[in-house]
């Protein structure tokens, strides 16, 4: 996949209570009005479909909560120095485009445009031309993304095994 978008830049250890404060705002409509406001109050108001997020290390630490709201407000990709393991799992299992690209915070500023070129394995600042490598996923994980997430992957397996007349192991 290839994506490019305007950058919203955040710091280290961005936590999931801030990304997805569903205890306080239980519906998706409310969440969209409050996601990330703890860090930048203008974010929910000003984020546009196609924008991308860039963050430092340990993105998505804290509780196991998916970042579906970020997709709902239009974030096309998340690129971070490192991602907390549960947020990474959450993003893979819901097929939300997320990329680990060490050094990314050094090549792009807030408001600039960043391009993610997954086949080439790089992210690039379209203005300065500076780029860093992103970490490719192993084929098994790519397959989950391609299916649209793990529940969809499960459904395909279920259908396949049913067609064979076999039972799940």
């Amino acid at each position: 996949m290839k994506v490019s978008g305007r950058v919203w830049k955040f710091g280290d250890s961005i936590e999931t209570d801030a990304i997805n404060p569903y205890y306080r705002y239980p519906t998706m409509e409310e969440l969209k009005l409050h996601t990330m406001e703890v860090y930048r109050s203008e974010f929910p108001r000003e984020v546009k479909p196609g924008d991308v997020m860039v963050a430092g290390r340990n993105f998505g630490c804290g509780s196991s909560r998916p970042g579906l709201v970020l997709r709902e407000v239009g974030i096309a990709a998340i690129i971070a120095e490192s991602v907390s393991r549960l947020f990474l799992r959450n993003s893979i299992s819901r097929a939300i485009p997320i990329f680990v690209a060490p050094g990314v915070t050094g090549i792009v500023d807030d408001g600039e445009t960043l391009e993610v070129d997954y086949p080439q394995g790089i992210v690039r600042n379209t203005k300065s031309g500076k780029s860093v490598e992103l970490r490719r996923y192993p084929p098994g994980i790519e397959q989950i993304f391609e299916c649209g997430g793990l529940p969809q992957f499960a459904y395909e397996r279920y259908q396949r095994e049913a067609a064979l007349g076999g039972r799940a192991r």
């Binding site: 209570d17 393991r85 299992s93 098994g140 279920y158």
Partner: protein, 426 residues
């Protein structure tokens, strides 16, 4: 090849039947799944979205899925009551046998209380603090709801074998719990993600002196360091604890001599000061001294990190001779009904109430914006899991994390203070 506990765990559970090493990907067979079933986003909706129009068609094993309604018991809103009703219908439809419904408490503590997790098992839960069961030598980790969906159906899940970090703890256990101070000291010195995606193996001379309660705090908090697993070896105390709760046989994990560790970290607790995390991040660690004198309006003890017997016992012991300061709401929430009962039988609850504390129903509420909201400008010191901005309501409130003794000292002094100064007889 010599293996770490994590390598041994995942090699044993590798469906392909081959030995795996740190960095390898595999499909693993799951021994147990702790499932809230719902929590904000319904498994039913997820099933329908994926194509299963009537919901999950089956579960992989009715006896190895543990459904516990811990986050919402008793329910505080109509919506949650309706969600719980849906879960009850689903549990019945799917024939899940282990269902803790009308019993408040934190799932992680109940999993331990009822012997639902054993040494050497690979146990997953759709809650970040599932690492908790590493205290009894289980390979336990949090997964996501969509991962859980797959586990419910197949009892299998993909993993990457983690690299391991050995945390060597030395020194002497004082006569009060210090596990929170230990974990904060580790986060403060090495960063709040020094174990990102890794498996922590706790070892060293202090370990045999640590109670199961203390070990559970250290394993639970592994996730605050980014870890996938946070395990202790099984010793006599572990076997006694587990065998008094279950007759299911098990095979403990023991690391091989010469196993490969990515890094080794040492911490000597002798002379370690009391620690806290300042607002609004776990890694924002300082000795208590640095926050001395900060007035507090609320103090709390509870959660899957610090709602256990020893956490409550130290508070009760201190309140025997001291009273909670005027204007401080001191909230204590036992982790489970079993813990509550143990505290009652030991007379701790009477001491707490007599000393001015409020004791509330076991559950997760004390660690969330569910019970005990904070208002703008208020300060809370809490022995729970997290201090993120807004975690207890107002985004203009401040939350400090500390151990139960430091929290009790603040509740008595009305401000953050060194416990040794508040309780001279310590």
């Amino acid at each position: 090849m010599a293996q770490t506990m994590a390598e041994k765990l995942l090699s044993r559970h590798n469906i392909a039947g081959k030995e795996v090493r740190a960095g390898d990907f595999l499909e693993a067979s799951i021994d147990g799944a702790m499932c809230h079933y719902h929590a904000g986003e319904s498994m039913v909706d997820m099933a329908v979205e994926a194509g299963f129009k009537d919901g999950l068609p089956k579960v992989w094993d009715r006896d190895r899925i543990y459904v516990l309604l811990d986050h919402h018991q008793p329910t505080l809103t109509q919506k949650l009551a309706d969600e719980n009703a849906l879960i009850r219908r689903e549990v019945e439809r799917l024939g899940i046998r282990c269902f803790h419904d009308s019993e408040p408490g934190i799932a992680h503590q109940m999993m331990l209380d009822y012997g639902l997790v054993r040494p050497g098992e690979l146990v997953v839960g759709n809650d970040s603090h599932t690492l908790c069961y590493g205290s009894v030598n289980a390979g336990a980790t949090g997964i996501t709801r969509a991962d859980m969906f797959y586990v419910l159906l197949y009892g299998e899940l993909w993993f990457q074998v983690p690299h391991s970090v050995k945390v060597v703890l030395s020194g002497r256990q004082p006569n009060y719990p210090i596990s929170k101070d230990i974990i904060l000291a580790l986060a403060g010195r090495h960063g709040d993600d020094f174990a990102q995606g890794m498996s922590i193996e706790y070892s060293g001379g202090l370990v045999s002196q640590l109670s199961l309660d203390s070990r559970s705090c250290l394993s639970t908090h592994g996730v605050e360091l980014g870890a996938k697993f946070a395990m202790f070896e099984a010793d006599q105390a572990t076997h006694a604890f587990v065998k008094s709760r279950t007759s299911t046989p098990y095979e403990p994990l023991v690391p091989d001599t010469g196993a490969g560790y990515e890094k080794e970290i040492r911490l000597d607790v002798d002379g370690m000061p009391f620690m806290l995390a300042k607002p609004h991040q776990f890694g924002n660690v300082a000795p208590v001294e640095e926050a001395k004198g900060v007035r507090v309006q609320q103090a709390q003890i509870g959660s899957c990190a610090n709602g256990r017997y020893e956490d409550i016992e130290i508070a009760a012991r201190m309140l025997e001779k001291h009273k909670v300061a005027k204007g401080v709401r001191f909230i204590v929430s036992p982790a489970s009904q079993q813990v509550y009962l143990q505290c009652l039988k030991a007379g701790l609850i009477e001491k707490l109430v007599d000393g001015g504390a409020q004791v509330i129903t076991p559950g997760c509420g004390v660690c969330q914006p569910r019970v005990g909201f904070l208002s703008d400008g208020e300060v809370c010191i809490t022995a729970t899991t997290r201090n993120f901005k807004g975690r207890k309501g107002s985004q203009k409130a401040e939350i400090y994390l500390a151990g139960p003794l430091t929290v009790t000292a603040a509740a008595v002094a009305g401000e953050i203070a060194d416990p040794r100064e508040v309780f001279p007889g310590l």
